[in-house]
């Protein structure tokens, strides 16, 4: 027997992501999914963002890594609630992993949850986790060819944080091309140039992120 099915393969994930989103909404929490390659500066950006926005904004963090709790310890040291997920080999967080740790965060006391995804420029872009907004970090040292080589994440994100701009003089990266290609892939992308090391550009970025809560 041959049957037409037409069933979306990630429907189960999307359904759980929608449940997560409802739980976040009910608690009045805005959720951002932070993606980017290993070493782009996701955790450092998160630290700088937390320093800039707390205690004014009550932030909680979910950290995703293949193994280890180094990132959660760094974030925990800033005094914000944090949960570490170890994916044990998986290259991305999915909605179910988030659902399983939600009880460990005091959602009712929070205004914003930032989910730091597994370091990877490809796979996380495919899986919804229940976020309001996806955003990504790309460091200038990764090279200006990255947007066109890994288009999906650039197309899925609302914001692109170009990190390590203080390193520009030491690389051959063309910042103009990086921005131009990213915006060509996704004209709705809001682009920030920052250096987490010097603090340049962090305030503008953090204010933008904070402002999303009221939209």
């Amino acid at each position: 027997m041959k049957v037409k099915v037409v069933s979306r393969i990630l429907e189960a994930n999307d359904r759980i992501a929608e449940e997560n989103r409802r739980r976040f909404k009910k608690a009045g929490v805005f959720v951002a999914n932070l993606m980017g390659a290993p070493g782009a500066g996701k955790t450092t950006l998160l630290e700088q963002t937390i320093r800039m926005l707390t205690p004014g904004v009550r932030i909680g963090v979910i950290e995703g890594d293949i193994v280890g709790s180094d990132d959660a310890e760094r974030i925990g040291a800033l005094g914000v609630p944090v949960v570490q997920i170890n994916t044990g080999g998986a290259c991305h967080l999915d909605a179910n992993m988030i659902s399983e740790v939600l009880d460990e965060l005091p959602l009712d006391e929070l205004e914003m949850v930032i989910i730091e995804n597994v370091g990877n420029l490809v796979c996380p872009a495919e899986f919804k986790v229940g976020e309001d907004v996806k955003m990504m970090v790309l460091s200038v040292a990764e090279g200006h060819d990255k947007p066109l080589k890994y288009p999906l994440m650039f197309q899925e994100s609302s914001a692109l944080v170009l990190n390590k701009v203080d390193l520009l003089p030491y690389t051959n990266a063309d910042l103009g091309k990086m921005k131009q290609d990213s915006l060509a892939l996704n004209p709705k992308l809001t682009v920030f140039e920052v250096s987490c090391r010097t603090g340049a550009g962090i305030e503008a970025w953090a204010q933008w992120l904070s402002g999303l809560r009221s939209q």
Binding site: M1, K2, V3, K4, V5, V6, S7, R8, I9, L10, E11, A12, N13, T87, G88, G89, A90, C91, H92, D94, N120, V122, C123, A125, E126, F127, L148, P151, L152, Q155, A184, L185
Partner: protein, 179 residues
């Protein structure tokens, strides 16, 4: 897409093993593995070395990689549909996969074949139909399909950027054969 390639061991000779990667045979060193592998085991291979054993359970819960999560979801849907139609054996599955997803068809095929064994689809053949990126241009009014690329910046007919992409992100099961 992930970096290390899951491969099946088909023979072992001391510290080297013959592996099968998407149908290709390759010799790799197994000296870095924490335990002695057996024929039929899956290992992750990087740069000529088997670096990690893949436990069958881990593979089945979709923990190993992106494509195996997706293959796992496909098998779940397939088994559900099979039971719903009062069938017991799945013979074939057709999947439509957009060119602009991050999913590699070869990896998906490999993961599906590795995971299907304990399911009603254990003898099923999966066909992957690739859907090219395509859309509609609001400037010239024409439809377009662009083979072999993941994105475009301008309408291939008139060069305008006032186009909408409407195809190429599909990830769905389109039909199944079962009895």
């Amino acid at each position: 897409m992930c970096l290390a390639v899951p491969s099946k061991i088909i023979s072992i000779d001391n510290e080297t093993a013959m592996i099968d990667v998407y149908g290709a045979r390759k010799e790799v060193s197994i000296m870095l593995l924490p335990e002695e592998p057996r024929i039929g085991d899956f290992v992750l291979v990087h740069a000529g070395f088997a670096i990690q054993m893949i436990k069958a359970e881990a593979f089945q819960t979709g923990e190993i990689m992106h494509e195996s999560s997706i293959a796992h979801s496909i098998l779940e849907i397939v088994e559900e549909q099979c039971a719903e139609k009062n069938c017991t054996v799945v013979d074939a599955v057709t999947v439509r996969l957009g060119r602009a997803t991050g999913v590699m068809p070869e990896s998906l095929q490999f993961a599906f074949d590795a995971l299907k064994e304990p399911t009603a689809a254990k003898n099923a053949k999966m066909t992957v139909d690739i859907v090219p990126v395509g859309g509609h241009c609001n400037a010239c009014g024409r439809e377009f399909d662009v083979p072999d690329v993941q994105y475009i910046f301008a309408c291939p007919h008139c060069g305008s950027n006032a186009f909408e992409i409407t195809r190429g992100r599909e990830m769905e099961i389109s039909d199944m054969e079962m009895h």
